[in-house]
Structures are given as C-alpha cells and as structure tokens.
C-alpha cells in the first residue's frame, strides 16, 4: 500500500470541537481543508467527554472576550450545521457552602461587571425560592445570566458531519508526529504511518499532544495533563434549567435536555493516573462514589436516582488555566489552539470561528491578545534581568 500524500489549503491536526469548528467555518469560506485525527473515532477526547456547559463567571480575563463573542456564535450554531446542539441559555449558578467559599467566588464580581455580564449574588433562601431542590447547606450563590449548557456530543459530531458535507476531508487513525518547514515556513505534517499532508496553513489543535507535535519545530507550549471523572444518572423529571458549579469548581453539573443529570468533579481521591500507562481511560473506584456523595449533598432529592455510567477524560491545563491560541511568530503559516484547561467546551466553537478568521485573514470576532500561545515565554535578559524584547526595541530605536 502506498502512503497518502494529500494537499489542501489548510491542514488541521485534531478533530475535537476546535478542529471541527475551524474546519467547518473555513469550508464555508470555500477553503479546502483536511482534518487529521489520531484516534479511530472523531472527537474522542475532551470534546465528547465534558459536562457540556459554558461557564463564564470565573473564567480567566483573557478568555472573557471570546466567551462573550461565543454568545452570538452558539445561538446560530444549531441552524448553521442542521443538528440540534441542545443549546439552552438560562444562566448558571456558582454555589458556596461556607464563608471561605463565598469570599472566593465574590472575587470575580467586579471583573464580570466590567465586561458587561449580568451577575447577581443570591442568599441561600432566595436561591431555594427559585429552585427549591437545592440543599439547605448552600449559604449563597452567584447567578450569571449569560451562562448556558449544550450537548457536547451532538455539537462536536454535528460539526464533523456538517464540515464533511461541505467537502472537508477527515482522516482518522492518523497520528501526526512532525511538522515540516521549508525556508522557515510550515508546509506539511507527517504521520506515524508515513503519510504526508501539505498545506500553506497548519493548525495544531490536539490538546495535550500539541506540545509534543510543536516540539518538532522548537515551539514549547507549557501544558500538563490532568484527569477527571464524570457520571450520568437515569432520566428524572426536569428540576434544573441552569448549570451549576461549586465555588472552586471542585464539582459541577447540569441536567441535560433529556432529563439525565451529568455530574463531574475532582474529588482528589484515588491514585493519580499516569497518562503513559493509561492512554485511554483510567477509573479509580474511589473517585466516582465521592462525586456521587457531593451530588446528593447538593440535591438531596436525587438520593434514590440511579447512576448509569461513569467515564473519565484527560484535560490539557495551561499555567494560568486559560487557552493558548494564535499564529506563531517563529514559523509563519503555523497556528496553535490548545490549553483549554478543562473548561474549554463553552469557548471551543467561538475559538474555532476566531481561528478560521485568523487563518483566512479576516477581522477577528474578539480580542485574543491576552490568550496568546507565547505569553509564558521568558524574555529575561541574562545580564540585566530585564525583559529582553524591550531591551532590543530600545537598542533598535537608538
């Protein structure tokens, strides 16, 4: 069998929500796009393993413009792709059980208001007047009107299906190992099978694996990998329209449109799984029961509801818990979108749209200057300890 050698305008590595949405929006502009996926299934990483929520309150300030741009993108998405993404924008709740937690969640209020978000602090009783099922243990809550929930599975695979209809080529079981450059410009990627995919513009949106791939051209994106588990219950009558998280996001959840409760969190129990040992999934017997206890604590009425399925997923975390995106300065034609830090699904589709605007040279829908991929780079001058770039600039001015 001969190796694949294909050419396109844009090659995207990673078929998650960001890869699929970038491909979809580029194909709408008439670009020829190839999307490469390491696994046998499209979008089998975080994009189809998350809780399906768009949490805006508490996001890093660099991500906020993108999240706000997303309010418009999400509303149009279902009609654009012809698949119902079950997008429901009925707000979100952050709950605090004690004074420390309440103090912690109040930190975001002044920033959120500056960005025009509708945030409101409710005391426990006011919250229970709105949603009587919440436990009396909850002392206070912050309600954010702009927050929403969606079905991550249908969104990701719906985008795949829609992009494919528009002529995007998807290749599964294609693990990219190298980025090739010619005269300093990125021009192709190669896979473990020896296939080669050429394009003028290449986007790396492969979550944690982005680091390994970008390493082949000397760009380092500081990411580490973190594992979290989540479970889903049987269908119960509708009690909750809003998504909710705990003050420090140690657990989070929502009731899906079909009535099931999705509930996940980092319990801090069980062994820390080594990614090299458990590349697919690793379930520790301690983690899910602890999360189940947390859910019964918050919604005592669910005590007799049954857990149907638990699963886990790897997240790629950046040093400041915000995404890392942009066109690289070092290698023209090479783009990056990774580091979504476990709360990326809500901003994944708007980021995909922004990446497509960036790649096709159009004005961007939101300011991305504070989430650049190279914001952690150390520019310190070895003699003076000052920022090296400023130093060079000042020398050049003279």
């Amino acid at each position: 069998m001969s190796n694949n050698h294909m050419k396109a305008d844009v090659v995207i590595v990673g078929s998650g929500a960001v890869g699929c949405s970038t491909a979809f929006y580029l194909a709408k502009e008439g670009k020829k796009v190839i999307v490469l996926e390491k696994n046998s299934s499209i979008g089998s990483g975080q994009s189809t393993r998350n809780g399906g929520m768009n949490k805006i309150d508490g996001r890093g300030l660099g991500e906020l413009p993108i999240a706000i741009y997303g309010l418009k993108v999400w509303k149009e998405l279902s009609d654009e792709i012809g698949v119902d993404c079950e997008y429901v924008e009925k707000g979100g709740i952050r709950i605090g059980l004690d004074d420390e937690q309440i103090e912690y969640m109040r930190r975001f209020l002044p920033y959120g208001k500056e960005f025009g978000l509708h945030l409101e602090e409710l005391d426990g009783d006011t919250l229970r007047k709105k949603i009587p099922e919440f436990s009396s243990k909850i002392k206070a809550a912050i309600y954010c009107k702009e927050e929403s929930k969606m079905n991550p599975l249908k969104t990701t695979l719906g985008l795949y299906s829609a992009a494919r209809r528009l002529g995007v080529t998807f290749v599964s079981d294609a693990e990219v190992t190298n980025i090739l450059t010619k005269k300093g410009r990125a021009y192709a990627v190669t896979t473990t099978d020896g296939d080669m995919y050429e394009a003028e513009q290449i986007l790396i949106a492969a979550a944690y694996n982005s680091r390994k791939i970008l390493d082949t051209v000397g760009i380092d994106v500081p990411l580490y990998s973190y594992y979290e588990e989540i479970f889903v219950t049987e269908k119960v009558p509708k009690i909750l329209d809003q998504m909710f998280v705990s003050s420090k996001v140690t657990y989070y959840g929502e009731q899906q449109e079909n009535g099931t409760f999705v509930f996940g969190g980092a319990s801090g129990l069980g062994n820390y799984p080594n990614r090299e040992w458990y590349p697919k999934a690793y379930q520790d017997r301690k983690r899910l029961p602890a999360t189940a206890r947390a859910l019964v604590d918050i919604f005592p009425c669910l005590a007799t509801t049954k857990v149907v399925r638990g699963w886990g997923g790897w997240m790629d975390i950046s040093p400041d818990d915000s995404m890392m995106i942009g066109e690289t300065v070092e290698i023209p034609g090479l783009y990056i979108a990774c580091g979504f830090s476990g709360h990326g699904f809500g901003v994944s589709i708007p980021t995909g749209k922004i990446m497509s605007e960036l790649i096709s040279g159009k004005p961007l829908g939101a300011d991305i200057s504070n989430v650049r991929y190279d914001r952690f780079r150390n520019h310190m001058d070895m003699f003076t300890g000052k920022d090296r770039n400023n130093l060079i600039n000042s020398v050049q001015k003279k």
Binding site: N4, S40, S41, I42, G43, S44, T48, L153, K154, T156, L157, G158, Y160, S161, R164, R165, T169, F170, V171, S172, D173, V232, T233, E234, N258, L269, K280, A281, Q283, R285, K286, L288, P289, A290, A292, R293, L295, V296, L302, A303, T304, T305, K306, V307, V308, R309, G310, W311
Partner: protein
C-alpha cells in the same frame, strides 16, 4: 481511514422505523442515517444518537447496532470495535453508590 462522502443520496428502507435501542428509542433508520452522515465507529454512533447510553448500557442493542453499522459500511461486524464498557455494571442508587468507598476514606 479517509472518511469518504457517499455519492448516492440516502435511501430509505421499509423497516427503518424498527426500534433498535429500546432505552433511548433509536430506530434502525436513525442509525443508518447517522452512518450516512459520517459516523463510522460504534463510539461515534453512540455519541451522536445515544444508542446504548440508557439504563441497560447497550446490553440489549450492541450487537444489533454493530450489525447495522457494518452492513451500511460494507464490512464484516468483526471489524467494528465495541464501545468501552463503563462502570457501574448495573445502575446503582446515588446514596448507595456514595457509600462504596467510605471505609477506605475513614468516613
């Protein structure tokens, strides 16, 4: 695997309204349509349609869903990989599930 588009339009069949996944009430026609729309693995069909995601966790429908996908793709069912089984094996009440490891944690 390159995900090729079918050149022919989707063809409806007389038995398309048979329910295959009883928990989520997914019909044969919906599964065939999903494969036509690009879903080529059991995981993709499961995530897109929720087949095998209900209370029985696919214990009833897995082999049927697999056969339908295989036939639509024109391959042997043996070539289709089944979705990863997930815990718990049977649905468990939250309050009981939460007691599972309490002793280990000293609670």
């Amino acid at each position: 695997m390159i995900r090729k588009l079918s050149e022919k339009p989707f063809e409806e069949k007389p038995d398309d309204n048979i329910i295959i996944c009883r928990c989520e009430e997914i019909t044969k026609g919906e599964i065939r349509r999903a494969v036509y729309d690009g879903m080529s693995t059991m995981d993709e069909v499961k995530r897109y349609l929720r087949t095998g995601m209900g209370p029985c966790q696919g214990m009833t429908c897995t082999s049927n869903v697999k056969s339908i996908i295989a036939r639509e793709l024109g391959v042997s069912p043996a070539e289709i990989e089944e979705p990863t089984p997930r815990s718990p094996q049977r649905p468990v009440m939250l309050k009981e599930f939460g007691n599972e490891t309490k002793e280990d944690e000293g609670l």
